[in-house]
């Protein structure tokens, strides 16, 4: 099981809480929107990430759990 942080860019309104709560992974761009390091989270970062996600006023921050590969549910066509 691995965890990654992701943002829903449509929901995000640049409140910037996430960068306060998870500075290890999230910085803000010049307009205040999060720039996210999408590498797998270290085990000790997961709780911080979940706290940051819960603190987001627009629920735009997501902590995604992934099993190694799940057939048919990876990146699909677009």
């Amino acid at each position: 099981m691995s965890h990654r942080v992701r943002v829903n860019p449509i929901a995000c309104e640049a409140h910037g809480m996430c960068a306060e709560l998870l500075p290890e992974r999230i910085t803000l761009d010049e307009w205040g929107y999060p720039v996210i390091d999408q590498q797998e989270l270290h085990g000790w970062e997961v709780d911080h990430a979940i706290r940051a996600a819960r603190a987001c006023p627009t629920f735009a921050l997501l902590v995604q759990r992934e099993r190694a590969t799940r057939a048919g549910r990876g990146r699909g066509p677009d």
């Binding site: 929107y33 699909g76 677009d78």
Partner: protein
Amino acid sequence: MSELPSTLAEAPPAMGPADAPALPRLLAGITAHGAMTLEEHFALHGPLPIVRGGGRKRGREHAAMLISEIERSGLLGRGGAAFPAAKKMRAVASSRGRAIVLANAAEGEPASLKDRTLLETLPHLVLDGGVVAAEAVGADELIVCACESAQAAAESMASVIEERGSGSSSSGHSPRLRMTSVPGNYVAGQESALINYLGGGPAKPMFTPPMPFEQGLRRRPTLISNVETLAHIALIARHGAPWFRQLGAPTQPGSALVTLSGPVAHQGVYEIEHGASLASLIDAGGGTTTRVRGALLGGYAGSWIGAERLHGVALSNEHLAPHGASLGAGVVLLLSEQACPVAETARVARWLSDQSSRQCGPCLHGLDALAGTLAEIAAGTAQPRAAQRIDRLASLVARRGACSHPDGSANLILSAMEAFGAEFDDHAQHGPCEGCARPPELPLPVRPIAEDSSRKPLVRQ
């Protein structure tokens, strides 16, 4: 606005070398007088080999066989992303629930006319492909999505659907057919934007997942295929994968529709073999009418290639990759020597910024900043490190939107700066050039797109 000529060729020139097997394929039998009728269509291509009846098990087997045949054909999607058609179909077919097929002719790309051309001249070929695709993925509904600015295309398709009957035929297995108009904004044809719009929302991309293949329109598995992809499927179903692969490159088999525009004698939609030389396409277009400064490949999310590198360019993604380019939605746009690539790119960049759905911060702010910086460079009023700022902004917007609009826009700008580095430097230092004052060459919808009737398709084979 550089208007494309609105006359049709009387005697379309043949494409490719004399020994090339059987081009045109899609554009075979087209005339300058509107849509091919059902009789003409069947006389030319024969009936669609569809297996009906025989129960559910037989149907499933046939569906799997169709997808396998399309997989063997190596058909890649023609909406711009070149995603393997069979892979997409298999994803839809294996998702739970009754599927829907959307035939995508939204064609928001200002320099592309191929999709509206297909609806206008070959609606039966598109419908055939849609029916095959529906059968392959187990869909009971086929919705053709035409751009609202392409009135003739929409009318042609609507009348053909009426002719075929919108309900199912005697066998009870063919999908329900429907035509709908979608807005002409640039990103309206993006998959999630299409689903958003057809579901009653705005024509703006949505956050994914769920992906359309698992939960699309009305939360049903939805196959969204470009109409050219479907037209090829109509022929693959008749002639088989080996036939399809007789033309084209091993990594990108078959033929393709391209929209050729710029300073050539006959602008229009051409059918080429993948891997054909750019020179042969230009020859088919009657040659250039003036010297060329460069070519834009793929569309406004595509890449520029400067004139000095155009020699020997072949039209397949494999051949274009070393140039950082791809065929995209089949746009080949030549820029004349007199035009200013800096001013032209700056103008398109501003338009692309205006086409942002304004949903994602990095796209909304980033594309605006990119367009603004480019305009300053073009005007000679930019800060000293403007080129570096463009680089930084481009990497800042990439992969940060709900769709790939910011990525495509950044790509266009970066490729322009690479292909025309000397011109950008010159503008940054000395301001506008002579070409800047010329009327723009790259086509943009100048009026609200719904009223824009200047984008008439014209067809050559």
